[in-house]
Symmetry: C2
Subunit: 166 residues, 2 copies
């Protein structure tokens, strides 16, 4: 959690988690339409949407162009500071090691995600990167918000892709 007093740390309340996840889901749908893996992310500060992004790995020929990294970069640019100490990140899929690491580096205090990442999850599924006690920053995380909808989008995308490959 943000170490500052709560009135100075405008993290969105849990009643707003589904709202922000729906915004991230719109991004994920835009990714699918572009032929990219349908994952979307938003960075918010209180009620303010700082940045939204979806995976663009193929479009940009960029192995790091995951939704979370693109959203963090855009938010930090908008904010004029690489430290996003009072922002929350919402993402439709559990972050991978790269994205969980980027969240730690950006000092984001809260991550809310949708579906578990069975292949590469670094919050609870494969490793628990945020649970390691010796980083200089700690991250609160909540998973399973609109998990069914987030996961179905991914499953449909991969079924469709396999069909095209056959």
């Amino acid at each position: 959690m943000c170490a500052r007093p709560i009135e100075l740390c405008p993290l969105p309340p849990s009643e707003r988690y589904e709202h922000w996840m729906r915004v991230a889901l719109e991004q994920a749908r835009a990714a699918a339409l572009a032929g990219e893996v349908p994952v979307g992310a938003v960075v918010v500060r209180g009620e303010e949407l700082l940045a939204q992004a979806h995976e663009r790995k193929i479009e940009l020929s960029d192995p790091t162009a995951h939704a979370e990294v693109l959203a963090l970069r855009a938010a930090a640019r908008a904010y004029g500071d690489w430290r996003l100490e009072d922002c929350a990140l919402f993402v439709t899929l559990e972050p991978c090691p790269m994205c969980a690491g980027a969240i730690l580096l950006a000092r984001v205090p809260l991550v809310v995600y949708g579906a578990p990442n069975l292949k590469f999850g670094a919050v609870t599924t494969h490793i628990e990167l945020f649970a390691y006690p010796r980083w200089n920053h700690s991250v609160q995380h909540v998973g399973g918000i609109l998990a069914e909808e987030c996961g179905e989008l991914l499953r449909n995308f991969f079924v469709e892709r396999r069909r095209h490959e056959e």
Copy 2:
């Protein structure tokens, strides 16, 4: 290691590790001159230098602008493919979780680094991200190449910075 036969997998031989680390060190020195944490990285394919970069977190207001991430992005752009399956990454400091995760995602088969990362090392110092057996890619890693020179540059930078802060 690259799964392809050795003649199709042009990783640099160990006799060239110090040469490429010196190129990465030049990048690290350029970072220090720009007031950024002095870490430099290069991506090579056989004897070809595909990309070189140094930390630019402050300049770009970008928490993800570590040397490795910038070098991987530039190499993938130059290569026209996000998969860097026959490239090696040289970096003056042991990668952090974000950078080690990015290396896995880019399918880089070999990472050679200089100094250990006492604060955030994700190869051997704090966690061993590459050792986890269930990722879909494996990374060979060699540490300690010109470690003294790489580490001294970092120590001098932080001593100097503290002096300015006093």
